[in-house]
């Protein structure tokens, strides 16, 4: 774990440069370029708002905000994983020629998606007043769940990136896992919709606590209770410890399998 902190700090400039490279290549050859990072969530919001305010009417007021408050962090999570799972394999040529700590590749995937997440929060912040939803001071609490989510994602990322080196099926399995995970997590719905005697099953989902923090802060203008915050960080650090332990155990052998 010391290795993780030390190498991250030592190679921070490389991680940043790789993340920017990724973004640059992602938006390359599009006329609007980087603007897409803002436009994508903005257009998604427009669609959601139209759909849920006219066609499908839920009993939840300002449903678009209710949804987006957790959909954006979820997108960060799932996109980071989808990018990072291939990060070692796709940089195989490089790993075979230059001695570089392998953790920079999944890290860079996370950082580039974090930048995307920050950019997507801008249209959300504009949507809130546009829908006449109150702009709560609890927005300032967002760095806390953001930190927990980043740590959680990092751990998962290390695990899947390492596993994918040995079994390329992992990246396919991950897509299935992510889409199933999306539906068992209260993103498009609320935990309140679930009968109380079944809720404990949902609470086994390690990402639910951190997701809850986002929705409370943005949509309800409330802060999560202490046990929920502790649970979110506990899940995050367990994920990081397991994920990085596996990654660092195998990282020196990656070069033989990429």
């Amino acid at each position: 774990m010391i290795e993780l902190v030390r190498d991250t700090y030592r190679y921070r400039e490389l991680i940043w440069a790789l993340a920017l490279k990724e973004l640059k290549i992602r938006y390359k050859r599009s006329v609007l370029g980087f603007m897409w990072a803002l436009l994508n969530p903005a257009l998604l919001m427009l669609v959601l708002t139209l759909v849920f305010s006219t066609i499908m009417r839920f009993a939840i007021p300002h449903y678009a905000i209710f949804l987006l408050s957790v959909l954006l962090p979820w997108t960060f999570f799932s996109q980071s994983l989808s990018y990072a799972v291939e990060s070692i394999v796709s940089n195989g040529d490089l790993i075979k020629k230059v001695s570089v700590p392998k953790l920079v590749f999944p890290m860079a995937a996370i950082v580039s998606n974090l930048i995307n997440l920050f950019l997507s929060l801008i249209p959300l912040a504009l949507l809130v007043p546009a829908m006449r939803h109150p702009f709560y001071w609890t927005w300032f609490y967002l760095p806390v769940p953001l930190l927990a989510l980043t740590i959680f994602t990092l751990g998962m990322t290390f695990f899947f990136a390492a596993a994918n080196v040995y079994y390329r099926d992992v990246s396919h399995i991950l897509q299935v896992v992510l889409s199933a995970w999306f539906y068992v997590t209260p993103i498009i719905y609320s935990l309140d919709f679930i009968p109380p005697n079944h809720r404990w099953i949902f609470k086994l989902n390690p990402i639910i606590y951190v997701i809850n923090g986002f929705r409370l802060a943005v949509y309800y203008g409330a802060l999560p209770k202490a046990p929920s915050i502790i649970a979110s960080f506990a899940c995050a650090f367990i994920s990081l410890f397991i994920g990085f332990a596996i990654f660092s155990k195998y990282q020196n052998d990656f070069v033989f399998y990429v």
């Binding site: 400039e13 440069a17 490279k21 020629k97 230059v98 001695s99 570089v100």
Partner: protein
């Protein structure tokens, strides 16, 4: 730690590779292991119990046939492979030119690649920015520096890569069969630079098939065959041994 004056020390290094026949890369492999099916791999020793020292300020040449283990050895020194057995010590900073332009991204401009490549070799952004202009000048890239490298000619690409790797001023430079490219003028420039490197007390390990280059520039030569050192010594001696062994085999084949 190696004694004073030793830049590269290779101690009893063996590198074993698992060669997988009919590779699947899939969960099926996992299942076949679980069910103890006939294993479909064999071990192959690319480098076998090799030891040697390179004193500071020397240029050492590695020669041998294709697949003899020269490049593997270089990659072990570069830290790309962790050897199965044995140890490698490198004193000072190291620039691995295992392949020119490894780490270059085609969509990025020359300038962006200079930075990225330097960061990959472990240098800081400030160090790279400071050297940027000298790198561009040496590579003779001119205005193309802000063009994506995919539009470079192969010569420009190589010049830039060589320039980045040597301008960062490493203590140890590893070169794998790269100086065969580029026009004669640039090749001369490269060798001039290598010579000034040596004069500055820096160490170079050089893999090449060009016996002329090896004879002309190296202080010592190792002949590698099937992963072991077959001969070591002065360039003309080892090259002679190599060429006569090659010759014998050609004769023997008839």
């Amino acid at each position: 730690m190696p004694a004073n004056g030793i830049a590269i020390r290779v101690e009893n290094v063996t590198q074993r590779f698992r060669v997988i026949h009919e590779r699947h890369d899939t969960v099926r492999e996992l299942f076949s292991k679980l069910f103890r099916q006939r294993s479909s791999y064999s071990d192959f020793e690319a480098v076998k119990n090799v030891s040697f020292d390179v004193p500071k300020g020397q240029m050492i040449g590695l020669i041998g046939r294709n697949g003899s283990g020269k490049s593997t050895l270089l990659k072990i020194i570069a830290g790309v492979y962790r050897p199965t057995v044995g140890k490698v010590h490198v004193t000072g900073s190291l620039a691995p030119l295992i392949e020119l332009g490894a780490g270059f991204h085609h969509e990025l401009t020359g300038r962006e690649n200079i930075l990225l490549n330097g960061l990959l070799m472990g240098y800081s952004k400030a160090e790279m920015l400071e050297r940027e202009q000298r790198i561009i000048d040496f590579a003779e890239i001119g205005d193309f520096i802000d063009t994506p490298v995919k539009q470079y000619s192969s010569g420009m690409y190589m010049r830039l890569a060589f320039s980045v790797a040597t301008e960062v001023d490493p203590d140890v430079l590893l070169i794998d069969e790269i100086l065969a490219v580029g026009d004669a003028g640039f090749q001369q420039k490269c060798f001039d630079r290598l010579r000034s490197f040596k004069q500055a007390g820096k160490t170079i390990a050089f893999v090449s098939h060009s016996m002329d280059q090896v004879e002309q520039h190296c202080d010592r030569v190792l002949l590698i065959d099937k992963g072991s050192i077959l001969a070591a010594g002065l360039p003309h001696e080892v090259i002679e041994a190599y060429q006569s062994s090659m010759g014998l085999e050609v004769v023997g084949a008839h």
